[in-house]
Amino acid sequence: MTRLLLTLLLCWFGASAGVAPQEPGSPTFAAFDVFVDSGNKALGAWQFEWVVKAGNAKIVGVEGGAAAAFAQAPYYDPAALQSGRIVIAAFSTQKDLPVGRTRIARVHLLIGSGASPQFEVQLHACADGQGEPLAATVAWQKMESK
């Protein structure tokens, strides 16, 4: 009985330590996945611009995509971090290129208090595996909050 009480007590303490109380209005981190749909063609290169149009949000990090060809960190200007605008790009000369809808990058943001931020994502350039321009679409989706 004592052992059971001790275990319950330890579990309670552990749970309390793991979930830190969050102050209202404190900044939060959020990750956004960016997708490109290349249709039935292989995706060889892409470049897009992420802009915080409204609200209190700063770009704090960039990750690569889901496909092996774009898994490495893409090109971006480190000076753009901690700001609200960034241009991100990548290309791959590998044989195995993604086709259709694929996650090309993940953008991490620090979101401050206030109204929900508004974003705009523009696809600047896109090419197939031969370097020819590609009519593709871009989309983004919020992934998680910490």
Partner: protein
């Protein structure tokens, strides 16, 4: 009365008197005509035939053209340095097309040796990509 000077006059005065009242030097008519013709030619020569003035006018007229050409040349060079596909803008497709050309073994102009290491390779494609994403140009 004779032309002989009065021996009582001082020699300097005698010399001056001879210079003033002695026989004049006669210039031959042919020489006189040549001198007159040369003077007339010089006086009647048009302004536009004077080499210094012509050169100055050409320089003045050419200066605006030269400045315009230099400005255009500088702009073109700045863009063309990383604009591999020459479409007037630098984006990731310039880097990608350079990388594809290198992968295919195509010859690439030495002007795309952007890092100056003496060869055009993947590092130069990286430079183009880095330029394409630079914030603020």
């Amino acid at each position: 009365m004779t032309d002989e000077p009065d021996p009582k006059l001082p020699p300097a005065l005698q010399r001056d008197l001879r210079r003033m009242f002695g026989p004049q030097v006669r210039i031959p008519a042919a020489v006189d005509a040549q001198l007159a013709a040369a003077a007339r030619r010089r006086r009647l020569r048009p302004v536009w035939l004077r080499p210094v003035l012509v050169a100055a006018a050409i320089v003045l007229l050419a200066l605006p053209l030269v400045f315009t050409w230099l400005r255009q040349s500088a702009t073109t060079t700045a863009i063309a340095r990383e604009d591999f596909d020459r479409n007037g803008r630098v984006d990731v497709l310039d880097a990608y097309r350079l990388a594809l050309a290198l992968q295919r073994g195509q010859s690439v102009p030495a002007t795309f040796d952007l890092d100056g290491d003496g060869r055009v390779d993947a590092h130069d494609a990286d430079r183009i990509a880095a330029r394409a994403v630079r914030i603020g140009g």
